[in-house]
């Protein structure tokens, strides 16, 4: 029963979508009951190839609808509309410790989706598919403007939504790896927020002087955003992941200049020397580097560096003083930061201070540290270099792929709703229903 089928039709709708949009993968005109493999292939900017696949059986009309039919096995199983993206992993034989991150967000991520006869698990490169299509996934919606920012010594990029504005603003911070990471800010701008991605660890200033930036750097970023004629100066929020959380909480609570309408903290902690500079906070973590553990695969676990959560108030950002809504996103299997323990302590501190009505915690079992926009492939571990440690380490982030991917999808929706409510004046948003 292995006679080659012809005229099997494969379609993906939409063929050009935003990174957080769902698509429908449809196979038609197959032989009823035939076994087929649907596979996704992507070559990332570093040149590495990533693949995902599912095994399906065509129904009596010769159709497979990935959004409704179960994958029997593969890199994902069950009914998984977006499994072909979130379960992408490096093809066999690839270098270990890879993580997929797009640097150039002005071009789309291109994924080739193909359907093969039979239930294939390997050797796809040597097989001829029955059909194949190319799908584009974009971080930037049409009309979103990308504006490099160097004013005031900043190393940043501003993404403006299309239209006259004014738009609420967003400061976007990543973690200890540094660099100017633009993709989340680009995607947030595609949802109507004027978003500025900021490099605060490896900025031009730091690379040239060897000195870390001070608190004023963030305040400058805030001012530049606030003063932009297309930004609504009284509606600015901050979003940070990992070490970016530390900066976000610091600014939200202690800055005289920065007045946030909302803050989103992903996979981070409030543990930090209060009133410490960026350098001092980094130093505080480094001091505890001895608490690093290694698992049986020699992957570094850094979550203990900040444990136990101190009782000394000078070592924790005083969340009781927060005056804006705070959304915490926590992966319960975070092996890199003690996000869950920190969230519990934050909750207690805010309850004692009487401002816990500002707090929302999203806590995901079996999700790891890198809670990224939806359908980003999960990296349980990857090679990592912080700005403090000069050599690359294999870092354990944590998380189980299925639960982690669900967490990314759920958290993103809730982050968008949270930002919409607090920055746009929240009515029940309908426009996220397709995500």
């Amino acid at each position: 029963m292995d006679r080659k089928q012809c005229c099997v039709k494969l379609s993906v709708q939409p063929s050009r979508g935003l990174m957080d949009e769902k698509f429908i993968v449809l196979v038609q005109n197959a032989l009823p009951g035939s076994q087929l493999t649907i596979r996704a292939l992507h070559q990332c900017e570093d040149g590495h190839s990533w693949e995902a696949f599912g095994h399906y059986t065509a129904d009596t009309t010769g159709t497979i609808d990935v959004s409704e039919d179960p994958s029997i096995r593969g890199t994902y199983s069950g009914v998984e509309q977006m499994g072909l993206l979130w379960s992408l992993r490096p093809i066999p034989g690839s270098k270990p410790g890879l993580r997929m991150r797009k640097k150039n967000i002005q071009t789309p991520m291109e994924v080739t989706i193909s359907v093969y006869q039979g239930h294939q698990t390997e050797g796809f490169a040597d097989l001829v598919p029955l059909s194949g299509v190319v799908v584009e996934r974009w971080y930037m919606a049409p009309g979103v403007r990308r504006i490099p920012v160097t004013e005031g010594g900043l190393t940043a990029t501003l993404f403006l939504p299309s239209g006259p504005g004014p738009f609420p603003g967003l400061l976007d911070l990543w973690g200890g790896g540094g660099q100017l990471v633009e993709y989340r800010a680009a995607l947030l701008a595609s949802h109507g927020f004027a978003s500025m991605a900021i490099d605060y660890l490896t900025s031009k200033f730091t690379m040239e002087t060897g000195k870390m930036v001070d608190n004023q750097y963030f305040e400058t970023a805030y001012r530049v955003l606030q003063q932009h004629p297309q930004v609504c100066g009284s509606k600015i929020a901050m979003i940070g992941l990992s070490f970016g959380t530390s900066m976000t909480l610091k600014m939200a609570i202690y800055s005289e200049v920065i007045k946030l309408s909302a803050a989103v903290c992903i996979s981070g902690s409030h543990v930090q020397p209060v009133e410490g500079s960026v350098e001092e906070i980094m130093g505080f973590f480094q001091k505890n580097a001895g608490k690093t553990r290694f698992n049986e695969k020699n992957e570094a676990i850094w979550r203990d560096l900040l444990l136990p959560i101190p009782t000394d108030p000078s070592l924790k950002a005083d969340v009781g003083r927060l005056q804006c809504p705070l959304l915490l996103v926590v992966g319960e299997d975070d092996q890199n930061w003690p996000a869950q323990e920190s969230a519990l302590d934050i909750k207690e501190m805010m309850a004692r201070a009487g401002n816990s009505h500002l707090l929302t915690v999203l806590s995901y079992p079996n999700a790891g540290h890198l809670i990224e926009p939806p359908y980003t492939p999960h990296a349980r571990s990857s090679t990592f270099k912080t700005v403090e440690i000069q050599e690359k380490v294999m870092c354990l982030w944590g998380g189980q792929t299925v639960e982690h991917s669900r967490a990314q999808e759920d958290a993103w929706k809730k982050i968008l709703v949270f930002l919409r409510e607090n920055l746009y004046g929240g009515r029940n948003p309908t426009s996220f229903s397709h995500l």
């Binding site: 939409p14 029955l130 799908v135 049409p142 738009f167 932009h228 919409r420 397709h434």
Partner: protein
């Protein structure tokens, strides 16, 4: 201090949005204005923001005050540098939402519940040159449409929009290859879908306006057909017994392509292009199309042996007698009707041996396509070929039946090939029924092609 524009909604002015003239802002005043701008505007979204031209979108406005009158408008700056627009007047519901897919437009270039009205009801903005037609010549880039929301209904254009988004409408799906064809004397553009194939093929031809229009072929490739957009007017050379040589060569270029299934090549023609389709299907001994689609069918074939181009030039010379209406628009239909009443001037469509789909508009003012379709049906019936024929005839629909959501053109400028004279040709049709016809016919054409070129009887026999 720069001038502030302040406008409020005409009902329950709870909202006041200030918008500075950006060019007049000094850095100081800009800071002041930014600080003053306390309220954020409505949220406009178009989903999907990038789509094929025949795909639907959802336009949604949120965060408006309840019961607020707004106008949703589309604007497109064409390759010819004209501006095209459409707009609908709406009122937000109690939750401050306007959904173009769900709500009624109370007026504008379209009324009623019309999810795609912002595209199909587009027409040149007031003050444009007359007789314009919208055609995308470069199909490698998308058609860019700006969708915006404005305060109020009357005079909505007097103020800056409250919000706007850009949406892309593509003729080419990702991964499609576009290849210039200039071989064996044939001129055209070949579009090949992504994937290994093999694919069915289509020979695609437009009408007597000439030139090379790639839009439909690119779109057909996006639906899985290797499609050749053929430039033929003026290229087919006079040659006894070789009247079809140009077209047969073109057909074989498709058929012989390594990624094409040789027994699954069809022909798709509009207007004069449909004449090529029926005559190839009826007379050619070299090529056997698997099926043919004829939009606004023409079967006027006065003399065998001469080329399609020369026939067309002959026809247009005779059409100089055509009636001109009070708007100075030229109507060819009535004169052409006289031509086709003589049976010796008609292609012998009874000789067609493949499935044939005829699509025409009942208000076609350019060619007597209603009578033509009737005639074709009669001749095929008499030849025992009725089972091969399908017909779609649409009321109040004109001659130029294009892919869905293309604007309707009731009359446009046309350059006469021989004399180079510019006239305004009346194509016919009323915008709403014509647009409905475009949407309905495209779906049915795709289904017809899918059935005959993808699913065909051969495949079923193998099972």
């Amino acid at each position: 201090m720069s001038v502030l524009r302040c406008f409020s909604f005409s009902r329950g002015a709870l909202w006041c949005v200030t918008r500075p003239h950006l060019q007049e802002c000094t850095p100081t005043s800009r800071r002041l204005l930014s600080a003053m701008t306390q309220v954020v505007p409505p949220i406009l979204s178009v989903t999907p923001c990038r789509a094929l031209v025949d795909e639907k979108f959802k336009v949604l406005v949120e965060n408006l005050p309840p019961g607020c009158p707004v106008t949703v408008r589309s604007l497109h700056h064409s390759e010819d540098k004209d501006d095209w627009e459409a707009y609908g007047h709406y009122v937000s519901d109690h939750s401050g939402v306007v959904s173009v897919s769900e709500d009624l437009s109370y007026g504008g270039t379209y009324t009623g519940k019309e999810p795609m009205g912002l595209l199909w009801s587009m027409r040149p903005v007031p003050g444009s040159r007359p007789g314009l037609r919208l055609r995308k010549m470069n199909v490698c880039t998308p058609m860019l449409v700006t969708i915006s929301v404005h305060s109020g209904h009357e005079g909505f254009r007097d103020q800056a929009p409250l919000a706007s988004v850009l949406t892309e409408r593509w003729y080419m799906a990702p991964g499609i290859r576009r290849i210039n064809i200039n071989e064996q004397g044939v001129q055209g553009t070949l579009f090949i879908p992504p994937g290994p194939g093999p694919f069915p093929g289509l020979l695609d031809m437009w009408g007597g306006g000439g030139g090379l229009l790639e839009s439909r072929a690119a779109l057909l490739a996006s639906h899985g057909y290797v499609s050749l957009a053929l430039d033929y007017l003026g290229f087919d050379q006079e040659s006894e017994n070789l009247e079809f040589k140009y077209f047969e060569t073109a057909f074989n270029i498709i058929k012989d392509h390594p990624q094409v299934m040789p027994d699954r090549v069809g022909i798709f023609g509009l207007s004069l292009g449909s004449l090529v389709a029926v005559t190839l299907a009826a007379y050619s001994t070299i090529v056997k199309p698997c099926c043919i689609v004829c939009i606004s069918c023409n079967h006027y074939y006065p003399a065998r042996g001469s080329t399609v181009t020369s026939k067309f030039e002959g026809v247009t010379r005779q059409l100089s007698k055509a009636r001109v209406n009070e708007d100075n628009q030229v109507i060819w239909k009535d004169v052409a009707l006289e031509f086709i009443t003589d049976p010796s001037n008609i292609a012998e469509v009874g000789r067609i041996n493949c499935p044939t789909l005829l699509v025409n508009g009942c208000d076609d003012q350019n060619w007597p396509t209603v009578e033509t379709a009737e005639d074709v049906a009669r001749l095929m019936r008499e030849a025992g070929k009725e089972h091969l024929l399908s017909r779609l005839a649409y009321p109040d629909t004109g001659h130029l039946i294009e892919p869905p959501f293309s604007p309707h053109f009731r009359a446009t400028t046309f350059v006469m090939r021989s004399s180079k004279e510019k006239v305004i040709l009346l194509w016919g049709g009323q915008t709403k029924p014509h647009s409905d016809a475009q949407e309905d016919s495209w779906r049915k054409i795709l289904s017809f092609l899918q059935f005959h070129l993808y699913c065909g009887p051969n495949l079923k026999a193998k099972i």
